[in-house]
């Protein structure tokens, strides 16, 4: 542990524990969770914090992820700041309640450790679990480093409680969740200043009893859906504000997307999650060898940062999207989203590359292979290219 000039302390912790520390320091009041690899350490440490009395929260042990989310919906409706974490099959089991939390406008924050879905069983990383939940109404952040994980938890509460939409923080299994890195832990007073207590505008109140979320007839249902969409739209601004303010207090800023390298590259490689770190190295190496390649990291996936993506792609020669996921019957999910954002605005080739499913390593040579294919390939038929499949 080392004390920094700004009052923070740097400790070496895993991505999972970065979540735990941030949740504790956010003064979360209710945690309900069910263990699943690779998420377990997150809640294990939180339960210890609660047991040791250094975190003033109610830790609810539940029998399933469905119940953990249902419990938090109750706690959040009663005005508590809430948290859970899960992964893969657990997230899938939660699916029904994810829709409910968003519809009920509960600003719950959840960490999802990206783990591939069965069958066949896998415990290793890919993004299909979280991307399967893209239409549930949740905001989604994809993180690259443990520091970003810690910081994003704090930003997530700021955003969620402002727009009353739940936030899912996503990180790669093992590559980030179980890898230790130095993380600067800010002083508690600074965090308290950035993240004041949750004061909900909608709250269960025994003095003013009311039934919530009952049957909405066709006369009204559509309006409530529109309000959720409006909240997602509003979140685009709020996410940026939360990030800017974070930068002014803590000196770190992430953006909804991050452009790394030239504004008019021959190839713009798009990544999300930990692959981004590997890609930064490869691009530096290739540009040093005379190439003109840039990197676009997508950090916020919902609401989708269409305008930032359009801006970054506007002067690129080609776009190569690295998807650690697969939308069966279509192709890489990030690629689809980017194509949709660009359509009618930017006329550029968007190539889709599928790699690293089920935890297969994406090494610098995997990225070199993608870039080399992107350089020579000149087609825009929408089909995804599978990288590294044994043939």
């Amino acid at each position: 542990m080392s004390k920094n000039k700004d009052g923070s302390e740097t400790i070496v912790i895993t991505g999972n524990h970065a979540v735990s520390y941030a949740v504790k320091m956010a003064r979360t009041q209710v945690v309900a969770a069910y263990p699943i690899t690779p998420q377990t350490q997150v809640v294990e440490l939180l339960s210890k914090f609660c047991e040791d009395g250094i975190m003033d929260a109610r830790f609810i042990k539940v029998e399933s992820e469905h119940t953990s989310m249902a419990s938090l919906i109750g706690a959040s409706s009663a005005g508590a700041r809430t948290f859970t974490a899960t992964s893969s099959q657990g997230l899938a089991l939660m699916h029904e309640m994810l829709h409910w939390a968003a519809g009920a406008r509960n600003p719950i924050v959840m960490a999802n450790i990206n783990r591939a879905l069965g069958a066949p069983w896998s415990i290793w990383t890919d993004q299909n679990d979280s991307l399967s939940q893209r239409d549930t109404g949740w905001i989604q952040y994809y993180c690259e480093s443990n520091q970003e994980v810690f910081d994003t938890v704090l930003q997530a509460y700021r955003v969620a409680e402002k727009v009353l939409v739940p936030v899912m923080l996503v990180m790669d299994a093992f590559v980030l969740s179980h890898t230790a890195e130095p993380v600067a832990i800010p002083a508690q007073e600074k965090i308290d200043g950035y993240l004041p207590p949750f004061k909900p505008s909608i709250k269960l109140d025994t003095n003013a009893p009311a039934a919530y979320h009952g049957l909405a007839t066709p006369d009204f249902y559509m309006e409530f859906r529109k309000k959720l969409q409006d909240a997602q739209d509003k979140a685009k601004t709020v996410i940026t504000q939360a990030d800017d303010e974070f930068a002014s207090v803590f000196g770190r800023k992430y953006g909804q997307v991050e452009l790394y390298g030239s504004e008019n590259p021959d190839i713009l490689l798009v990544t999300s999650g930990t692959v981004t770190g590997t890609a930064r190295e490869v691009i530096d190496e290739q540009n040093a060898a005379g190439k003109n390649i840039a990197l676009l990291k997508i950090r916020v996936f919902r609401p989708f940062p269409s305008s930032q993506v359009r801006e970054a792609c506007a002067r690129a020669g080609k776009i190569a999207v690295l998807d650690r996921n697969i939308g069966f019957g279509v192709g890489g999910i990030f690629a689809q989203e980017i194509r949709a954002a660009l359509y009618g605005h930017v006329d550029v080739q968007v190539q889709s590359y599928i790699a690293g499913l089920g935890g297969r390593d994406i090494t610098p040579s995997t990225i070199r292979e993608i870039l080399s294919q992107a350089e020579t390939r000149d087609e825009n038929n929408g089909e995804s290219i599978w990288v590294g499949v044994k043939e």
Binding site: A104, R105, S201, I202, A210, Y212, H213, F220, E223, F224
Partner: protein
């Protein structure tokens, strides 16, 4: 109340989420129901096991609420001498305690004793019924006679209890050793019965001091509860004390002012409580003691608790042996014995050759106490007397050796026959469904060990005739009663009300009511009830 707007023409007027600020009571969800919860108490195993049918779960529930007098008042509804039973009953109720499956039985005896010892001076909370003008004679003042007389007086009879000795109590005084039941306690319980209206006619032996025929003329009914007497052939019919005693005679002497003379080594023959009592008394008179059961260990009928106490007092229990021969040699009893093969489980009869070859052994003693056979004291004139319509037998005299509470039950039953109507409170147990373990919600019960009984401390190896076990404290009584599952008996824990998702269970003075306008019949209350009090029945059934 301000009327809230419930219809909107513009999205901007609408709240962020759907909220119904009006009442939902208009939606009577009870119409969806096809199953209905009904509160139906079950018969707890302890109450089933109690000969007197005492409502043990309710007594215990009152202790948890520290309503000690009320708890005692509930006991004396069915039991007129609760301190006697609290000290000396074998509590068959405890043997069927559901809690045994979790950790250990609830100490019902300790709880009963705690309550009874607090209320020794308290009169019964009820008065006898108005006098009917009828009168009954009860012969013998043991537990059966006392219970019969109490029941008769309670129902407006005059009851005269005849006792041949100078003090009432029968076997409670003459047989039960004072280290189990202090005579002060017994006297207090008898005093209460006297005040209630039971008349004791002492020093009057029927057949000697007063004739049977006269009783039949003077009284509307007679109950014969004269107990048991030692019987069986003696190994040494010509020998007398201090070499040979009969079990009950020996105990009578121990309990009289003159203690019997015995030698330093005592052998007791018998497998029941009389044998164990005799041996424990012999130890207290300064002798060593062995018990020859003449049967296998499983056939020993003395209570386990008694056997444990006896073993703790260094009394050896010799089982699975038969006497081959006996003699008196140099003023000592000499018994030659041989070991018996044990009958394995599932085998119907003993093997052809039941003896273990080479297992012969010899025991010698200065005193032999024969406590192996007891039978009713009713004989001769009494037998023909009992044939009369208004004469009944009760207690051990009628049933043979049993227990205090079984004898009391028999006395109450005889009184009921005299009165020729069922007694109030009648025993409703037959009508109650049995508690079902499957209906219990095990999640509600953690482990909790039984309260430790306080034992009077004595110098090492010393034993005396004062009570060995002491009464538990109020704090321990509340703790111990908290262990009770209250099988099948609602103790107002509110679990049903707490878990009802429709908020349609409400507390009423005697229990709960279900608002059937809204109960959907989900059955959650039935599942959650810790103690099998609620049943789910089909609508229309």
């Amino acid at each position: 109340m301000e009327k809230k707007k419930i219809s909107y023409s513009n999205i901007s007027e609408m709240p962020e989420v759907a909220v119904a600020e009006g009442s939902m009571m208009v939606n009577k969800t009870g119409s969806w129901r096809y199953l209905r919860p009904v509160y139906r108490e079950k018969l707890a195993p302890c109450r089933k096991g109690c000969p007197l049918g005492t409502d043990i779960p309710r007594v215990i529930a009152l202790i948890t609420q520290e309503k000690f007098q009320e708890a005692w008042e509930l006991i004396v509804e069915t039991n007129p001498i609760p301190a006697v039973t609290g000290h000396a009953c074998y509590h068959s109720c405890e043997n069927s305690c559901t809690r045994i499956a979790l950790d250990d039985r609830v100490g019902v005896q300790a709880l009963e004793r705690f309550l009874a010892d607090r209320q020794l001076e308290t009169p019964f909370p009820y008065a006898p019924a108005p006098a009917t003008g009828r009168k009954a004679a009860v012969i013998g003042s043991g537990p059966a006679g006392l219970a019969a007389a109490w029941a008769l007086v309670r129902h407006g009879y005059k009851a005269d209890v005849f006792e041949k000795g100078p003090e009432a109590g029968g076997m409670l005084r003459s047989t039960i050793p004072s280290y189990k039941l202090s005579r002060d306690i017994l006297d207090k319980e008898l005093e209460r019965l006297k005040k209630f209206g039971v008349d004791f006619i002492l020093n009057t032996e029927i057949g000697t001091d007063k004739q049977l025929a006269d009783l039949g003329d003077e009284y509307d009914a007679v109950i014969v509860s004269t107990g048991i007497t030692s019987s069986g052939e003696s190994l040494f019919p010509d020998e007398t004390a201090p070499l040979v005693y009969k079990g009950l005679e020996f105990l009578h002497l121990v309990n009289s002012s003159s203690s019997p003379e015995i030698g330093p080594e005592v052998i007791v023959i018998g497998k029941g409580n009389t044998a164990v009592d005799s041996a424990r008394c012999a130890r207290r008179l300064g002798s060593s003691a062995k018990i020859l059961t003449l049967c296998g260990r499983p056939a020993v009928s003395a209570s386990n608790q008694e056997i444990k106490s006896a073993e703790a007092e260094e009394i050896e229990l010799l089982c699975q042996a038969e006497i081959v021969s006996s003699r008196i040699e140099n003023g000592k009893v000499v018994l030659e014995l041989i070991g018996l093969k044990s009958i394995e489980e599932g085998e119907e009869s003993p093997p052809d050759d039941p003896y273990i070859p080479g297992s012969e052994f010899t025991v010698t003693a200065d005193t032999l106490i024969e406590a192996h056979e007891e039978s009713t004291s009713i004989s001769g004139d009494f037998e023909s007397f009992l044939k009369q319509d208004n004469v009944f037998s009760a207690g051990d005299a009628a049933t043979g050796t049993s227990s205090i509470s079984h004898a009391m039950k028999s006395g109450i039953a005889a009184a009921a026959t005299v009165i020729t109507s069922s007694l109030e409170p009648s025993d409703k147990r037959d009508e109650m469904p049995l508690f079902n373990l499957m209906g219990m919600n095990r999640d509600c019960f953690g482990k909790a060990s039984q309260v430790e009984l306080p034992v009077r401390s004595l110098p090492d190896g010393m034993l005396d005739f004062s009570e060995l076990i002491e009464t538990i404290s109020a704090q321990d009584a509340v703790y111990e009663s908290g262990r009770c599952i209250s099988c099948g008996v609602c103790n107002f824990c509110d679990t049903c009300m707490t878990f009802c998702p429709d908020f349609c269970i409400r507390r009423i003075p005697d229990g709960y009511e279900v608002d059937l306008d809204y109960c959907k019949g989900c059955g959650i209350c039935v599942q959650e009830c810790p103690r099998d009090v609620i049943d789910l029945i089909q609508e229309g059934s």
